[in-house]
Amino acid sequence: MAELKTKLGRLELQNPIVTASGTFGYGTEFTDFVDLDRIGAITLKSVTMEAKIGNIPPRIAETPSGMMNSIGLENNGIQDLIKRRLPALEGYKNLKVIANIAGHSIEENIECARILEKEKRVDALELNISCPNVAAGGLSFCFDLPVVEKLISKVRDEYSGPLIVKLSASVPDIVKLAEVSIKAGAEILSLINTIPAMEVDITSRKLFFKRGVAGLSGPAIRPIALKAIYDVASHFKIPIIGIGGVSSIEDVLKFLIIGADAVSIGMMNFINPKIAETLIDELDEYLNTNKLTLAELTLQS
């Protein structure tokens, strides 16, 4: 067994394989396929104070090497998360649970953080400031750096555990966005979120999604994620969770080499719900076979 333990600042994982918010439900949907207790961390679906019904269907479209979604942060609200979802994860002692909050306003995010501060099953908080599928909040936060600073520092004041901020690559300057986020109190950065995209229905000659825009994910965005991770990792020493179309052990290695400290699986969870566990085994095997350590997976000049 290779040493897979991964430290993301104060957040310690048994291995660097994570599942991305919105692609892994609340974990329990996957227990027929995968042993949750073997995964480094799972990131729960975004939560808001009140229940959100989400966007009008259709919500899914396939595209070469990926998919688009327009779910719209559907969830049953933070009380349901606390009463129903978190207790269901109690038994998994080795698994770290990251709660993802996506309030539509600074105030709502502060309130969510204040409530989750008291939840022992939440090991870290991920602040989603980059969802393209909602009218208020979401990706619009990322375009307003003073708001990003205020939002993160206010959430920082309320939450004492490890704070992750999830960034979008669809901004003019991700390095600047990362800098503001770090200054405001982000301890870990996760990148990237889905890319704003569109689809057209030929028959009706209308935009396929009711909101027009949807979020593109999957291998189609992988090279964009690699570039974003490279840019941020070469400027700051902050731990990075890399996300974007990871679908094989080769992808995991690429993400780790280019600068990610952990790798999060997104769309592929839908296609192969046991992929997280498979990638942990394959990473272990790769390190053993090549007599390498995780620390040695760095970009060579």
């Binding site: 679906k45 989400g54 259709p58 919500r59 899914i60 559907e74 719900p273």
Partner: protein, 250 residues
Amino acid sequence: MSDATKIIEISDVIKSKQLAKDTFLLVLNSSHISSMATPGQFVNISIQTKLPSANMLKRPFGVHNCGKNKLEILYKVKGEGTNAMTSLAVGDKVEVMGPLGNRFSICKNKKVLIIGGGMGIAPLYFLYNQLKEHNDIIMIHGVKTSDEVIPWTESHIKTHVDDVEGYFVCENIDKYIKKEKIQHIMACGPIPMMKSIAESAIKAGITAEVSLEARMACGFGACLGCVINTKNGYKKVCTDGPVFNASDIW
């Protein structure tokens, strides 16, 4: 994971055969899913197109029939994914996830109308096989044109061809329910057809179950992509359905 209710299985193609225009029967060997699946449930099948990453998402198909170590899928070519499936040959491997979703109810001692529109017939065939012993069943398969008629070997399936009859299969359903004293309807097909059938059932004061479909990414309740609007808000076709009481929808 022995108590798992759904699994991923690598299946061999036993048979792939065209039955009618754009309509194919795919028979797979399956030890687990075939023993667990119930009528109304579906499976997600991986697609292999020329460009391997072009169609990554698995496609949902209602279970058409199950035998010992055998799983049958009836499908219509609609796009790139199903088109690629037609080139599957005996011995090819396919990744199958299932069984997924809920089932049609188990009814007994009833006069049941089972009605499928187009490919909606797929899961109903399996349903008939399970219900026939304890119920008096009338089964109708509605298709648009003559070249879509499936040459059923079973005499109990009546085929209705819209173009030949001059009206849709659901148009005479009110009279039919009365004449045949139907007590329960089970349907799958295009939304307008099922809506019409549901309205007829409600008018006649009888119950109806419908199986719905939607675009989905996962098939097991994680992506929230396949929601449909019901009287009780959005419900997931994959785990709250695909079978719904018609009165919950219309």
